[in-house]
Structure formats: structure tokens, C-alpha cells
């Protein structure tokens, strides 16, 4: 086992009432890697992210973080504390709180009751939040209630929240879904910036978007690993083409849950 693997999934299997959403999936993520997870609907991509962030417990297999911690035994908040951040497909921010408050509680900090009860906003912390606000372009809307933001802004806010968490690994589920071209572009830039320091797993449908990044792509199909490699390699693969264009498509659509 190489030390540099920040995340390693071995033979992960997930079952929902007898239906196997993920079967014996393997995934290895290096430190500082930007990885795309693609595949048709129902391939098990989102479920894979769910497993990594602890939302779903696999029925078999293990997920090792930083070469030592088996996170399948941990609870969600413990995994988050370890340094795995997750952005959901549908923007999930806290709608009744202001943008600034959303960021404030997401910020990396002690998360015990006692600590939060007596927490004072340090100057350094305020700076971090302000920096982040500029980065996600919401500096003019700090006092807005998050629920009042546009869809794209919510997506960014969520990304901003996740970045303030300063995780080792970021899990992004369709970060550009529902964004305008311009917004998508901006998000892409953001991703490039982030990827310099952290490891990222992105689930994405937008192939255009994926192609902009010269990085490794993992293709999943029916809960299994289908192909791993660069975008070019993947696109040349017959099986991948068949999965995306071929006959089985109907079956997948009917099983999709999105």
C-alpha cells in the first residue's frame, strides 16, 4: 500500500432492500488528486460518495482514510471532523440563516457544545470568512438569508462552506448542475484553485465540464467499476460508449432515483 493514498475503498458493496447499488467497488485517491466519477444514471456514483462521507453504511468492504482510519465505522460528523467534506447534489445550505452565519458555523473550529457556546469571532476568523466570501463572489450579500439566493449562488455558498471546513478530501456531487454557462465556468476556475491544495472527488454528468480538466476519470456502471483512466482513454473505450449510448440505457433510467 502506498502511503500517498489519502482514500482507499476496497470491495465496497451497498444494498438497499436487496438491490445492490454498489457491488465490490474499488477506488483509490492520491493526495492532491482531482478525480471525476462518471457513469450513467443509477451507476452508484452518488451512493459511493454517500459511503465515503458516512451517510450510507456499506454492507461489505472497507474505506480507509489516510491509510489508517476505517471510516465505515465512524459516524458522519466524525468523518467530517477527520477531514472529508461533502457537497450535495441539491444545494443544501441553511436557508433561514444569513450567508455569513452559514459560513461561520462551517468554519474549521472546535465543534463541542462548550466551545461554540463561548466562541468569540477572532479577527483571523473574520478575515477567513471575508476571504471566502470574495472567493465565492458573495461579498455583497453577507447579510442575505441564504434561502433567498439564486440556485447558482447557493451552490457556491455550499462550496464556500465546505472550503472553510478545510477538509482533506472534498466530495462534490454535480457541482455545476443547473448553472448557467458563465457560472459553470466560474465554478471550474474555483475547482482548479482548490485542487492545488486538496484532494477532490467530483461526480459529474456534464462531459464538457469534465473535459476541461486533465485528470483521471473513473467510470461506474451498475454499481461496478467499468473503467479508470484519462478522459481520452475512457472515451475510446467501447464498453463505456456502449453504456452511455447503448441498449441498456432504458433499464438504467427506470432505476434511477434522482
Amino acid at each position: 500500500m502506498k502511503e500517498s493514498a489519502i482514500l482507499q475503498c476496497d470491495d465496497v458493496t451497498v444494498e438497499f432492500d436487496g438491490f445492490k447499488a454498489v457491488q465490490g467497488m474499488n477506488l483509490k485517491l492520491e493526495k492532491g488528486e482531482l478525480r471525476f466519477l462518471i457513469g450513467p444514471n443509477g451507476a452508484g456514483k452518488t451512493t459511493m460518495l454517500d459511503v465515503i462521507c458516512g451517510k450510507v453504511k456499506p454492507s461489505a468492504g472497507r474505506v480507509t482514510f489516510d491509510g489508517k482510519v476505517d471510516i465505515t465505522r465512524k459516524k458522519e460528523h466524525q468523518i467530517a471532523e477527520l477531514g472529508i467534506g461533502r457537497k450535495f447534489q441539491a444545494p443544501s445550505i441553511f436557508p433561514s440563516m444569513t450567508v455569513a452565519e452559514n459560513l461561520e458555523i462551517s468554519m474549521r473550529q472546535k465543534r463541542t457544545v462548550f466551545a461554540t457556546l463561548f466562541a468569540k469571532m477572532a479577527a483571523e476568523e473574520r478575515e477567513r470568512i471575508e476571504h471566502q466570501l470574495t472567493m465565492i463572489g458573495l461579498q455583497d450579500k453577507t447579510a442575505w438569508r441564504a434561502g433567498g439566493l439564486s440556485h447558482g449562488e447557493k451552490q457556491w455558498l455550499e462550496i464556500g462552506m465546505m472550503l472553510l471546513q478545510e477538509p482533506e478530501i472534498l466530495l462534490l456531487d454535480e457541482p455545476v448542475a443547473g448553472m448557467t454557462d458563465k457560472e459553470t465556468e466560474k465554478t471550474g476556475e474555483l475547482l482548479h484553485q482548490i485542487a492545488r491544495k486538496r484532494s477532490i472527488v467530483v461526480v459529474e454528468h456534464d462531459m464538457e465540464f469534465v473535459r476541461n480538466f486533465a485528470s483521471k476519470v473513473t467510470v461506474m456502471h451498475e454499481g461496478r467499476l467499468l473503467k479508470e483512466g484519462s478522459m481520452d482513454e475512457v472515451q475510446r473505450d467501447d464498453r463505456v460508449a456502449e453504456v452511455y449510448l447503448g441498449k441498456r440505457r432504458d433499464a438504467d433510467v427506470s432505476r434511477s432515483t434522482a
Partner: protein, 360 residues
Amino acid sequence: MRLQKLTPQRLWILLGYTAAAAALFSAPLFVSDFRLNLLAKFLAFAIVALGLDLIWGYTGILSLGHGIFFGLGAYAMAMYLKLEASGGKPPDFMGWSGLKELPLFWQPFQHFGFAVVMGIAIPALLALVLGYFTFRNRIRGVYFTILTQALVIITTTLLVGQQAFTGGTNGVTGYSSLLGFSLGSPDTKRALYLITVVVLISIFVLCRFVIGSRFGKVLRAIRDGENRVRFIGYNPATYQMVVFTLSAAIAGLAGMLFVLHVGIISPSMLGIVPSIEMVLWVAIGGRGTLIGAALGAILMNWAKSEFSTAYPEGWLFFMGALFVVVVVFMPKGVAGLVGQLKFRRKRREPEHERVRNPAV
């Protein structure tokens, strides 16, 4: 909280609160003893409402069992008062239930200090235990609410059934004095009223501090999306447990004051109906605003004591209808209504509470 500049507006608010406090403190000067006693009772209810607002308004946990915590606090105080009245001998109801000796668990309640501590600790502990299991097991929303109802049934049935130890349906009543001061004397009553005002203000300040802190923000985040909070790294169960316990302790404290003003506690005060009524005060006053919750409690009880006698039937119709209208059409209560008016005028922030209402 950060130190903020003293803008004219903040000054007004500060003045307002001072005036309100001054009005409460000076009430004994121009209100009859009977009315003062009533007001004191309402203020005790306002304290429960504050605690309830912490968990319902800010954390989104609806407890229909706060009557229990209120009642347990009240019983602790009642036990002390009863023993002081009987001079440490077994109280009257033990006699007619065939109990000759003072049960062991009653004995320490002869001490005022012990009773006060227990009046807060017992409800808090019960809430802690219940909260520990339910929140850890992620029982939430409606399920939690229904569980609290089950708890109400368990508690009241036990209190009623163990008549020899608890006074049964009659509850505990017939007190004479508190620490030697006669409860009947108007001076004691005024003093108790003032104590209640002080407690109410302290609890109000405490609640403000809690919701103003980052802890309070996490609570609101839990209300908005409990699961999301997990993935930021907070354990919602701990937070829910702590705030539920705090809320129960506040209710217990209010219960103790209630007994001092009203002179009786019985299982019917712990039942499902009083528990829901407490929620009603908060709903009408405005969940998610402390002042709304407190005012809701005071106003609703005042209205009840004014109108329920003149129109006993009309009152129930009115209360039921009010409940429906407020919950359905004014989810933020009266305080929220005032807020909405303001938004309509200013439109600085978009109004999005409606967005959460998926009836579209």
C-alpha cells in the same frame, strides 16, 4: 457577541427593554394583589415559553411533553411546601392513602435548597436521558413529538396511580409558608412576584446569550437541516440533547414558581392538553423570537382568564380557531406578523419563509 455601536435604534431598543422591566418591577404599586398574583403566574408561564421556544422555535424540535418538566419542578417545590406545612410529618394524603411513615425519597425535600436543586435537576435529568436515547437514535420530527406524548401518558398515569406518594389526582396542595414566610401574606406574594420578574429577566438574558452564540447558530442550522449539520462535523444529537435539557430545566424552574403563586400542583397540569397549550403560546406569540414566546404566554393566559369565564364555550371555539389560523397562516406568530409588515415596507431582504411552504 461583538460590541456594537450604540446607534439611535439600539438605544431605543435598550430603552424599551428597560421600560418594560421597569413596568414589571413597579406593577405591585398599581395592581391589586389578586391581579398581581395572576400576573406572577403568567410570568411563570412566560418562562416555560422561553424554554420551549429554544427547542421548538430555534432547534425545530417540538416537544408536547413540556408539561412534565414543568410539573416535576412544581412537584419538587410542592413537596417542600407540603412538608413545611405539616412540620415534617407525612402529609394528609398519605394518611388517607394508608401510609403512616414519610417515604424515604420525601425526606430530603424538607430542605428548601434541596427542593430547589431537585426542581431543576429532575426535569433536566429526565430530559437528558430521554434526549440521549432519542436523539442519538435519530428519532426526530414527528416521531419525537409522539414519543413525548407517550412520556406524558406514562408520567401522569404514574403520578395518579401512586396516590400515597404523590397525592394522586388531587395533587399536592394546602401549603402554609415558605422558609417561615406566610404564603398568604401580601408581602410574601409581592416578594415572590418580584423574584419571578427577576428570574424571567435572567432566563430571557440567558436565552438571548444562547441563541446569540455560535451554539445558537448551530441550533438554527439543525432546524434548517439536521443531516447537513452532520456533514459539517457537528453532532446534532449532542446539541439537541443539551438544548432539550436546558429547556426542561427552565420549565422546571417555572414550575417551582408556578406552585408558589398558585398553591397547587396536580397531574392534570402535566397532561397532554396543558403541554399543547404551552406550545400554543409560543406559536401565537411567534416561534423563533424570544420576546414573542414570552408575550404569547402572557397574553394568551391573560385572555383566557378574562374571557373564558364570560364565554366558556366561545373561548374554546376561539382558542381552537386561533390555533388553526396562526399555525396555518402565520407560522411566525404575532411577532412574525409585525416583522412581515416591516419587510413589506422595507423589502431589504427577500421574504423566503414562504418558499419552505411546499403547498405550491
